[in-house]
Amino acid sequence: MRKLSAAVRFTLPLLTLVVLWMLVVYAFDVNPRVFPGVAAVGHAATEAMLDGTLAAHVAASIWRVLVGTVLALFVAIPMGVLMGVSPAVSSFLSPILRFFSVLAGIAWIPIATLWFGYGFGAIVFVIFNAVFFVVTYNTLLGVASIPMSLRHAAASLGASPWRMLTEVLLPGALPNIVTGVRTGLGFAWRGLIAAEMIATNVGLGYMLFVARDFYRTEVIVFGMIVIGMIWLLIDRLLLAPLERATIHRWGMVRAA
């Protein structure tokens, strides 16, 4: 019951916004080429869902993000751990990583399209390095912030390098890694939309940008809502719980 009332309280303002939108469009008779009415957006939505274009665009976008992110995580986490183990190495490398995580994502679009051509390769590359540098940097910070005494304690109890990795370094760095993934995915998602506007012929960003050419504002608004919803779902249902769970775990590790 409490959950229900919280859900109502959360959706009520959004519904009010929709009603307000309807009223304003109706009252001022807004030109649909400037801003569409609710009905037009609903119409565009059902049309896109029925003829399968929406599914194709969403699938293309998500597939790119998935491939880029998974590749990046597979390389970034081991590298971050390796570099973070030695304090000297990690302090030496962190300016370089910071430099590249500043550039991460969108700034690579021009060179990526030149190296890989317009299409799948360039976009996956952009997502890869949006996630890669941020996650590597955060993993390195996470490993470097584990108190030396913990590592000494594990070593003096006879932990093998493998157990040191799986029982001290990785759990200790996990909260940082997850924060890194969350930030990196945030950059990657924006980078994806931008890259799709520039460099492809399918995907959510492309859907918006093509609609602009034909002044189809209802498709644009619908696309924006879809983009917002997908990100909200990824962030609230996947990343935020993951972050909370690792912080609990971290608390356990500290208390033990």
């Binding site: 302090s91 679009i109 939309i193 918006l208 924006m224 983009i227």
Partner: protein, 274 residues
């Protein structure tokens, strides 16, 4: 092997450690030297075609050419001005809005979900419709940046305001502070560290949004420089653009954000001690 390690420590590592201990600012420069050396080596070995992967020397010479022609300073000034205007507007709207939403229960109930939703839509998704409304131009770009900077600041301000213990409000009130005095003396200082975090995130996102907007809208700016170079197939100028962007962020970070963060950290410390 041991001898090699000795040489490494004696002639490279310990001088580096001593130098960074004496001049801490070298710490953020020296690590790039081996990177540049590797870059130079790879380019020199021509593993990739030279036009696809130019070396540092070409990039430096294109830097001087573009500075001499006056293109780079002009574009750089354009980008920085846009970012500064966007950030200023974002702060001017964001902090009061954040205070309102953080302090007033009704405002929080009504606005919080809306804020979360619009934050999720993300800056760049607004580009197409802004292009329809305002055309290819400065207004579009400025609005994108304001939008991007705004949300992290508002959301973090709200979090900061709501993290202040209620007892602080009550204590100030029972000492006879007016609502305005409470905002000035309790709420703002208490939320300041969060506001600064929001500002940092916002600028980080705003920065990327600016590059994307300049690439797509394309009239001037570093993003435009890079995309124009891409059209001409000039990797040298793209790399130059990327390096300029990275260095610029280092400067903003070291000269603007870090001092603010230090100042608010100290202020926060003071507030806690009282």
């Amino acid at each position: 092997m041991n001898g090699l390690a000795y040489l490494w420590v004696r002639w490279i590592w310990s001088p580096y450690m001593r130098a960074t201990a004496r001049w801490p600012s070298t710490r953020s420069v020296v690590p790039f030297l081996p990177l540049i050396a590797v870059w130079w080596g790879v380019a020199q070995a021509e593993l990739f075609p030279r036009t696809f992967f130019p070396g540092p020397a070409e990039v430096v010479s294109s830097f001087f050419t573009l500075v001499y022609k006056g293109i780079l300073p002009e574009y750089l000034a354009d980008s920085v001005t846009r970012l500064a205007v966007g950030a200023a507007a974002g702060i001017a709207i964001g902090i009061p809005l954040g205070l309102l939403v953080g302090l007033n229960r009704r405002a929080h109930d009504a606005l919080w979900p809306v804020l979360l939703f619009f934050q999720a839509i993300g800056d760049i998704a607004w580009l197409p419709i802004l292009l329809i409304w305002f055309g290819f131009g400065l207004t579009t770009m400025t609005l994108i940046i304001v939008y991007t900077v705004l949300f992290p600041i508002v959301l973090n301000t709200v979090l900061g305001v709501r993290a202040i213990p209620l007892d602080m409000h009550r204590a100030a009130k029972s000492l006879g502070a007016s609502p305005l005095a409470i905002i000035r003396e309790v709420v703002l200082p208490g939320a300041l560290p969060n506001i600064v975090t929001g500002l940092r995130n916002g600028l980080g996102y705003g920065w990327r949004a600016l590059i994307a907007a300049e690439i797509i809208v394309g009239t001037s700016g570093i993003g435009f420089l890079m995309f124009d170079a891409r059209r001409a197939g000039s990797v040298v100028e793209i790399m130059l653009g990327m390096i300029v962007l990275g260095v610029l962020w280092f400067i903003v970070d070291a000269w603007v954000l870090a001092p603010i963060e230090r100042a608010t950290g100290q202020r926060w410390g003071m507030v806690q001690r009282q």
